[in-house]
Every structure is written in structure tokens, then in C-alpha cells.
């Protein structure tokens, strides 16, 4: 059995913490550790930045205008 390592635990729950799906007590525990640990805090801020970065990177390619026109043409003609 390995000893409990709060940083390893923090890493394991990081994504659920960011998704806000931890229970109140798990969340409080994660926040307490982040307050105390600069190593994990830095990685938490990085994770937040990465999520934003991924979102921006994939949004950079807009929907082609021609596709929009084609979709509008699929509408049922008015009687």
C-alpha cells in the first residue's frame, strides 16, 4: 500500500473539480489543497487555460457560408 499523497489525489480529482461535479466535501477538500499547494495551483490554472485554448483553437474554423445556404434551402417551401 502506498502512502496518501495529496497532490496525486488532487491530480485525480482535478477534472471533476473543474466540471463542478464533486460533492461539497470533496470540493472543499480540493480547494483547501489548492489554497495550500503552489504546485497543484499552478497546474490547475494551466488546466483552465488549456480548456479555453482548445475551445478557441477548434472554433477558429468557421462554418462555410455555402453550407449555411444549403441548409436554408432544405427548409419546407411556404405554401
Amino acid at each position: 500500500m502506498t502512502a496518501y499523497d495529496p497532490c496525486t489525489h488532487c491530480e485525480e480529482v482535478m477534472q471533476q473539480y473543474m466540471d463542478r461535479v464533486l460533492t461539497d466535501s470533496e470540493r472543499a477538500e480540493a480547494e483547501k489543497h489548492l489554497d495550500e499547494c503552489a504546485y497543484c495551483r499552478k497546474r490547475y490554472r494551466f488546466e483552465e487555460t488549456v480548456r479555453q485554448y482548445v475551445r478557441q483553437a477548434v472554433a477558429a474554423e468557421p462554418m462555410p457560408v455555402e453550407l449555411k445556404t444549403k441548409l436554408a434551402a432544405l427548409r419546407t417551401p411556404l405554401q
Partner: protein
């Protein structure tokens, strides 16, 4: 048949036409978001365009089966993912056979180690290019990528993603967890090599 029995029919037709027009307008207003998700669910831009067109054609045909007041974007994505499955692109290794991925801190640690000692998280992330991110996402196996794209790019809840993909919510959570790790591993490889 008397006028009094025909009148409600005319009203009904007019109401239905109005509902249909409203449905189509609301669906079209979501097309950018639907395309953005589709673009990263499939391999190429052409494939995404075809899939989105097919989705809208089917949605407009079966608009009556949409329940007003429920999530139209999720409904459209459900059609899209079903069409995508029908196309038979689901040939891949089972999740159990995927290689084990690194932990959540892997990407940061890798980028930090490759840098010149600068540990500022904003500057560390700048070592990734947009192309790195897009290329890395395309490397994530479909089952994992679908969930990552829906939740992290499409902003769907776990529950919406479960309904769209027709999988249990626990599976959404486990695939999301692994999918994000695989993505970050691929981003690290794109940015600094293995």
C-alpha cells in the same frame, strides 16, 4: 361538410405551418454550433458538411417528433451522431484495448520541462499552436473524442452527452476522463515530441 367543421382544420394547418417555420428557424440558428461539433466528430471538413446537411434534412422531415421546450441542440446532435454511426465509421479498438494514458499533469510537466525555465502557465500554454491542438484532437479515438467534443467544445452536460450518444452517464464520465488525458498526451507529442 359544413363551414364550421372546415374552419378548425384551416386553423390547425396554419398553426402547424407556423410551428414548423419556427422550428426550422430555431434549428438553423444553431447550425454554427452543430457544425463546430460535427467538424471534430468526423475526420474531414467535407464529411462534416455532408453530415450536417443530412442531419438538417432529416430534422426538417421529422420536426414533429421534437418536443418543444426540450434541448433542440441536443436533439440535432443526437440525429447527427446516429447518422454518423449509420455510416459505419465505428471501426476501432475497444476502449479496454487502448494504451494507458498519462496523468492530468502530464502536459504541463512536459511543456514546462521543454521550456527555458519559464513556468508561467499562460506562457507555457502558448508553446502549443492551434494546429497542434486540432491535430491532437483528431488523434483521440472516436469513442473518447465524441465525449470530449460534446462536453468541452459543445458545452453539453454529462447528461445531454449521455442521451446524444445513447450511453450511460458513468460511461460519459469515464470516457471524458480518459479522452482528455489522451488529448493532452497527443498535444504534448505535437508540441514537443515524445
Amino acid at each position: 361538410m359544413s363551414e364550421t367543421t372546415r374552419e378548425p382544420d384551416a386553423r390547425q394547418i396554419a398553426t402547424e405551418a407556423r410551428d414548423r417555420v419556427r422550428f426550422e428557424e430555431e434549428a438553423l440558428a444553431l447550425s454554427d454550433q452543430v457544425y463546430r461539433v460535427a467538424r471534430h466528430l468526423v475526420g474531414s471538413r467535407e464529411e462534416a458538411e455532408d453530415l450536417v446537411q443530412e442531419t438538417y434534412a432529416r430534422a426538417f422531415r421529422s420536426w414533429r417528433s421534437f418536443q418543444p421546450g426540450t434541448n433542440l441542440r441536443a436533439w440535432l446532435l443526437r440525429i447527427l451522431t446516429n447518422l454518423n454511426i449509420d455510416r459505419g465509421r465505428r471501426q476501432q479498438r475497444r476502449p479496454d484495448e487502448q494504451p494507458l494514458e498519462e496523468g492530468d499533469y502530464f502536459l504541463y510537466n512536459k511543456l514546462e520541462a521543454a521550456g527555458d525555465g519559464d513556468t508561467d502557465e499562460d506562457r507555457v500554454v502558448e508553446r502549443l499552436s492551434q494546429n497542434d491542438v486540432v491535430a491532437a484532437l483528431s488523434e483521440v479515438p472516436h469513442d473518447f473524442r465524441d465525449v470530449v467534443v460534446l462536453v468541452d467544445i459543445g458545452d453539453f452536460t454529462y447528461s445531454d452527452a449521455a442521451q446524444i450518444l445513447d450511453i450511460p452517464i458513468g460511461t460519459v464520465m469515464s470516457r471524458l476522463h480518459r479522452g482528455r488525458r489522451i488529448l493532452k498526451q497527443a498535444m504534448a507529442e505535437q508540441a514537443v515530441g515524445t
